[in-house]
Amino acid sequence: MTAREYNECVDMYSDNLYRFALKTLKNEENAKDVVQESYTRLWMKAEDIDATKAKSYLFTTAYHLSIDHFRKEKKSGEFDLAAQNKLRTSQQQPDLNEILHDALSRLPEIQRSVVLLRDYEGYSYREIEEITGLSEPQVKVYIYRARLAMRDYLVKLDYVL
């Protein structure tokens, strides 16, 4: 991958990667760190990575970094719901997308990541399998559970789909 291709990857994917990391980690600073680190690793391996695989590499790295971050913070007790509440800026009646993101934030981290990869990036089960290292049936199970949890959350709020 050339420097130019790498820089194009910055233009094309950094926003998506940041959104993915932000929603997974629920912390802006950590999400920025994840994006920065993912691109640093991509650049360090630029000679070995084909430009067509760069997006997958970035999301794979970001996924694993996010999971590491999450677990570290969970262990040290830094993670709390207050952080995620900071991200909810709208004080108005939330629309469906906001409620869904609220529901998303309540999912276990792996389910959350898998759903984000599926919905934000449109990845197939197979691609998510490659990014996360989960098996395809696992990915399906996580998505299945996540969808039902999100649906149940909406039902609990009396939201009519």
């Binding site: 420097a3 130019r4 959104r19 650049w43 469906l96 919905d119 199970v141 969808r147 649906r151 909406l154």
Partner: protein, 405 residues
Amino acid sequence: VNINRHNYEPFLIICIEGVASAEVVREVEDFLAENPDIAAEFEAMKSFGTPHTDMIGAPDFSFLKQPEHPEQLFDSTLLEQLSHPEDKSLPPLDLGRLKALYPESERDLALLTRARVMPGTETNPQKPARAIPEDAPLRDAMLVAGAEGDWSNTERIAFFKKATETDKAMLSGLKKLKLQPDGAVVFADKAALYQTPVVAIWHQRTTIRAAAAVALLLVSVLLLFNNENPTGQAGLIAEIGRDELLIPVNSDAVSAALVNDVAEPKKVGSFAPPKETGPKQSNDAEVLTLMAFRNEMPVNRISSSPVGFDPVAVVWNFEEENPEVAPAVLPVKSWDQLAARGVEDLLRLERQPDQSLTAAIFNKATSKLNESDNVRLRIPRGTDGGQSAGWRIRIGQVAIAKRDR
């Protein structure tokens, strides 16, 4: 094995005792290389010998165990068995083990595998579609699969033949559970992510000298032009001839000055003309300033030039409505785009999306810049030269900033 400063001691002991595996020895070596203080401790331990393991007890590696989490306890063989029950090459499914490992997985996977074949299969379209299950978990699994787009056409048709209005409403509801990314959330610090390749020092020097040579020649040409055209009428501003550029220039003094200029990392360019060599500033005259930028040009582009300074970039700050020179940043990618477009052209102009900047780029040694397109090239009168603007042209080598006339 993850050796760190909190758990290294048992590893050192087993290394000294010669019972460590090759992998552990290698990791210990890596760890010691990164931690010289512990390496010293290790050397001391080796020289003193270690207490016999009977005295200290066998090393306790229980800390290496990972916490078990149900999410991680999927077993690939079990998954294969559940996903492909017809596969005779797999050992028989051990449901007891499955349940012991992960009570929920049996249900989840059974739901999905059973839902997948409902209500019909593409491989056997003649097979009568099964009725939509009344069992809620099975129906949910089937509907989730439908909402995720996992159904074949046959399955989809069969579903809509059999489904009640409630089933359809449920499917429709599940389809709406798709997250939409918030486009307003962007990564603001992209500039920190961009990279440029490192240019070899000898190449930088060569290029800087070439840039200095170009700078000198341009000053000469432009001064000459100003003398010949004191009224400053629109027309040819500068012509860079191939022959002129190929004149060998011995200008160590200027090179040194430019090296000093470009060594300052934060101020890579300036609108200010060099006091000693720059032409006098006048409202009527062309005021041209030569700038050398910190050389971050990709090697391949530099080396393609016959004289080692290709391309020469000419940059204006351009804002018709606002006479002030606004701070502007021309990102690397823009240069790349310009260069890509202008390979065969003598002159290319590019206006940035915010309309604040126009750039021209030369890709051949013989290049002309003229003001035939006066609107696009006009620099507002009365600018202060933008000294504080802090141009951040990361791939520029020699640039001419023109202001006022």
